[in-house]
Amino acid sequence: MSNIKYILGSFGDPDEMLTGIKKLQENNISIYDVYTPMPIHGIEAKLGVKRSRLDIAAFFFGITGTITMLTGVYLATVVDWPVNIGGKTHFAFPDFVPITFELTILFCAFGLVGSYYASTHLFPGRAPRVMDLRATDDRFVIAIDAKQNAEHDKIDELLKSAGALEVKHNERKYVSYE
């Protein structure tokens, strides 16, 4: 066997790429990942990417914001420094609705985006792990682990028959470190 690590099928059209995925899966060839310049709906189900739980996380981040604001404002206006404003109640709840709402949104947004970045390993300065530089431009790339799938010629043929414009045999996993 050669030193080929990954086989990349580079498509010019998303529909052809979907055909490619279908053909590979029919032949029990496992797909490592797919890189596209835009989201392709329905593809995650085919590749077994689970449903995102970010919505649940967002809810709990939001609730944390709500509780933080209500607790904070209670501590400030009732416990720490109660101010008598015409004998009105110290904890004037309706007045605190706007700020509680704002803090809920703030916590929710930051928590959500933070978890998204963490779960997909995005952070400033991270070295991009790119297999094909055109995958962010105009190519839809299917990556197949060459070590796990031995029948390289068959993979080539399947990709080509699905309409791949180019099939690459990469000896390095990522081209972006070069």
Binding site: P37, M38, T77, P98, E102, V113, R129, M131, T136
Partner: protein
């Protein structure tokens, strides 16, 4: 996406023949990857002059204090808060376009959301500078934060709308920034993968290592949807809270329950006007006519008629309630607006915000680029005067006739305002140079379903209802970027 076609009756969102994915990248990135043209430099130098004026005026204010403005004992708020509310209002369209239109699945948002969001962020920055510069002692600006007593102040007054406003504006700014930046990641990665040398290094840092794998895209869409869901009430809450700065006071003319919806409608109105003012120039100068089409312009104009009419109804309701409430002070405040010494400002506001946008009911006008551009500027002027009228005419004749006075701005007032426009355009023009002005990935998403070429293919296949095709072809007449000869042949 794949598999099913959009109805032929829908107008195309991308025009032009044989547009490929590579071409979309190329065309949208051309201002980022090439040296700027003369138009950009002229605009940028003008904007920089404005920004310099802003620095001078704000520096002067900081050095000599708020006394350098035209304020007096009776009119304690004037151009500063007018400018603040104006900018915050303008800052509403971006998030509205990216959030509300996403929830409603309006695909036409895809080619205008990026620059509208950038505009939002820069407008909110301009608004925030007003907040700081009108404080008198701006070096103590952090006192608006809820800090405990050891800092020398009591806790902030959590019952005060000004404190709510601080929470609202800072939340709005940071959430808009997150929304915008997360949406930018795939496009920054596109620039990164095409760049070399130093540029590549810089864009690598800012692309956060984006690759476009299945999981990242799936999570990306989930995040966008949730952010849209929480930004929609946020955008409504922000201007609601801004309006409460006035509405919770006891000044006649401010003390009205109509303010929140009226301000929110006005904010969307002025925001869309500013988006049009900017994008009509951008599409021409950067040659993006195929992506920002006549359909986009017309849709925005329709939103402007709607919100402009809501604002008009609000003005009339205010007048009616001033009379119907039986409160003589309220009635006087409005009589003074209509016929007092600042009546010229009131009627300018009425003309620009209520009467002239009604011209957009005419299809000829709302599909005419020059007319639309002029009207969008008229709306911006009108909305500035709306805030001026609300603020100054309510204050300048207060409860004690002996303290009645007029307001006239000093050069510093004018300098801060004109300067803030300069700051805004400086930031916007820099944005056009370093980041893609259209969301590349999102435009690519609709290429196969909503473009002129995909519809052309459907027509050529010939399985469509003839009447619908005719209606579609007729709808294309208004597009300045569509070649009619192609359709004459079919």
């Amino acid at each position: 996406m794949a598999g099913h076609n959009e109805s032929i009756l829908r107008e195309p969102l991308i025009t032009g023949k044989d547009i490929t994915y590579a071409q979309i990248t190329e065309e949208i990135l051309s201002p980022v990857e090439n040296k700027p043209n003369k138009a950009w430099w002229i605009g940028f130098i003008l904007a920089l002059c404005g920004a310099t004026l802003w620095i001078v005026s704000v520096g002067y204010t900081f050095w000599f204090g708020i006394g350098s403005w035209g304020l007096n004992k009776t009119v304690g708020w004037a151009w500063d808060i007018t400018g603040f509310v104006w900018w915050v209002g303008i800052g509403h369209a971006g998030t509205l376009i990216s959030a509300v239109l996403l929830l409603f699945r309006q695909n036409w948002r895809n080619s205008i959301n990026r620059s509208a969001e950038a505009m939002t962020i820069f407008a909110v920055i301009c608004a925030a500078t007003y907040v700081v510069s009108h404080m008198g002692r701006p070096w103590l600006a952090y006192w608006v934060l809820p800090l405990p007593n050891q800092f020398g102040s009591l806790w902030v007054n959590f019952n005060s709308p000004l404190v709510w406003d601080m929470f609202a504006i800072s939340t709005y700014f940071s959430v808009s920034l997150l929304f915008w930046y997360t949406g930018l990641l795939p496009d920054i990665a596109t620039i990164r993968d095409r760049a070399t040398g130093m540029r590549k290094k810089i864009y690598t840092i800012f692309s956060f290592g984006w690759t476009g794998s299945v999981k990242t895209w799936q999570r990306f869409e989930a995040v966008s949807l949730i952010l849209a869901g929480i930004s929609t009430p946020l955008v409504l809450s922000v201007h609601t809270i801004v309006s409460m700065d006035f509405a919770t006071s006891v000044i006649p003319g401010w003390h009205t329950t109509i303010f929140p919806p009226y301000f929110v409608a006005g904010a969307i109105f002025s925001g869309f006007a500013m988006v049009l003012t900017l994008l009509l120039v951008v599409r021409k100068v950067l040659g993006l006519e195929n992506y920002i089409t006549m359909f986009h312009i017309e849709s925005m104009n329709k939103i402007i008629i709607l919100t402009g009419s809501i604002v008009g109804v609000a003005y009339l309701t205010e007048l009616f309630i001033a009379w119907y409430s039986g409160s003589q002070y309220e009635l006087y405040a409005f009589q003074n607006r209509i016929a007092g010494p600042f009546a010229w400002a009131y009627w300018l506001m009425m003309t620009c915000n209520v009467i002239s946008p009604q011209l957009l009911w005419f299809k000829k006008i709302r599909t005419n680029i020059a007319a639309t551009w002029v009207l969008s500027i008229v709306v911006n002027i009108g909305m500035w005067f709306e805030r001026f009228v609300i603020i100054v005419t309510s204050l300048h004749r207060d409860y004690l006739p002996s303290s009645w006075t007029m307001f006239s701005p000093t050069w510093v007032d004018v300098g801060v305002f004109v300067g803030s426009i300069g700051v805004f355009f400086t930031l916007f023009l820099l944005f056009l140079r370093v980041l893609p002005s259209i969301a590349i990935a999102e435009v690519k998403m609709i290429l196969k379903s909503s473009s002129e070429q995909s519809k052309m293919k459907l027509i050529k296949e010939g399985n469509l209802d003839k009447e619908q095709v005719q209606e579609y072809v007729a709808s294309l007449e208004k597009f300045d970027s569509v070649k009619q000869e192609e359709y004459a042949k079919i």
